[in-house]
Symmetry: C2
Subunit: 192 residues, 2 copies
């Protein structure tokens, strides 16, 4: 296997393993076994498990950014964009039967104190998705399709947090119900 392929193999395997099992419960040996590569090859591509964790986190953030692209599609009404964004996130969770939660949320709870560099990357990612949500909500408040009871930035930050909590609950329940409830309350109550 070419070197680039080994690295890609390790990364793809790690996104799944670290997402479903967590960072500390997964050893380098678990990763190389699952990836089908020699354990020694790990350190040709990553200086440490922490370094791999950072790459896994960045890859996950890029996936969410792809789903979030719809938020900037001005051919759709603001609430339709929000609905499609939530649908996209829910589909991502459905793909692993709601067992894994959000890698960003998992790493936040598990690693915020353990790996400071990860904490700032996660902060930026959460702030970034908050800003995109806020822009859509502000647009809806201006065209009158979204209520004005609180500032767009405040609503967006809260909705972001509520999403993380709903994903966490979906994982505990291994069920889609908390995510569907999230969409209903956000679109028909908070933003009504």
């Amino acid at each position: 296997m070419a070197k680039a392929n080994v690295k890609e193999q390790i990364l793809t395997t790690s996104v799944n393993l670290l997402h479903s099992k967590g960072f500390n419960a997964t050893s380098v040996q678990d990763i190389t076994d699952a990836a089908g590569v020699p354990k020694g090859s790990f350190y040709n591509h990553f200086t440490s498990k922490e370094a791999l964790g950072m790459e896994v986190l960045q890859r996950y953030i890029a996936t969410v950014a792809d789903i979030a692209a719809v938020l900037q599609d001005r051919t759709l009404a603001p609430k339709a964009r929000l609905q499609q964004f939530f649908d996209g996130l829910i589909a991502g969770n459905a793909a692993n039967d709601f067992h894994s939660g959000c890698l960003l949320g998992n790493f936040s709870t598990e690693l915020s104190n353990q790996i400071p560099a990860m904490r700032s990357t996660m902060q930026q990612a959460l702030a970034g998705s908050g800003e995109m949500l806020a822009a859509v909500i502000a647009e809806g408040q201006q065209d009158g399709s979204i209520g004005n009871r609180a500032p767009a930035a405040e609503l967006a930050a809260f909705i972001n947090d509520a999403w993380q909590g709903s994903v966490l609950h979906a994982k505990t329940e291994q069920s889609q119900a908390p995510l569907d409830r999230f969409t209903r309350i956000v679109l028909s109550n908070i933003l009504a």
Copy 2:
């Protein structure tokens, strides 16, 4: 030290350690070192680290139940009870500078797949606090102090989830701001 004291010493230390560092990142050695007891004494009181984890979880759930007692204080208006409940939860988070999040949320993300018995205890705890919240919201909907845009049980379950997400964000930010925002949006928007 009498045996009962050693067990209590281990438990008190573990509540703090497992809450702040996580389950898998904390070894039995870490716990007995921090508790100042011989490593061997651990297994006189707990069959495994998982068994200790269950006792820590139950102790944490009892603490939250104490804070939740105000929800049943009928001398207070429903929204005042909710405000006091949230204030109590926020004070609990402030006590550890928002570094530790909610142990229930932390264990949910870290251990749902790893320790099935813990998953069902956490499910019950989350469902129980949801029912208490729902009863207060239903009371407010009946006396007209809380809006009727969604059923009480649905609102309560969502608010529960939003709390977990806000705590997670407070931990990532090491800041009280997400928790204050939670209280504002819940009381002035969702339940308005």
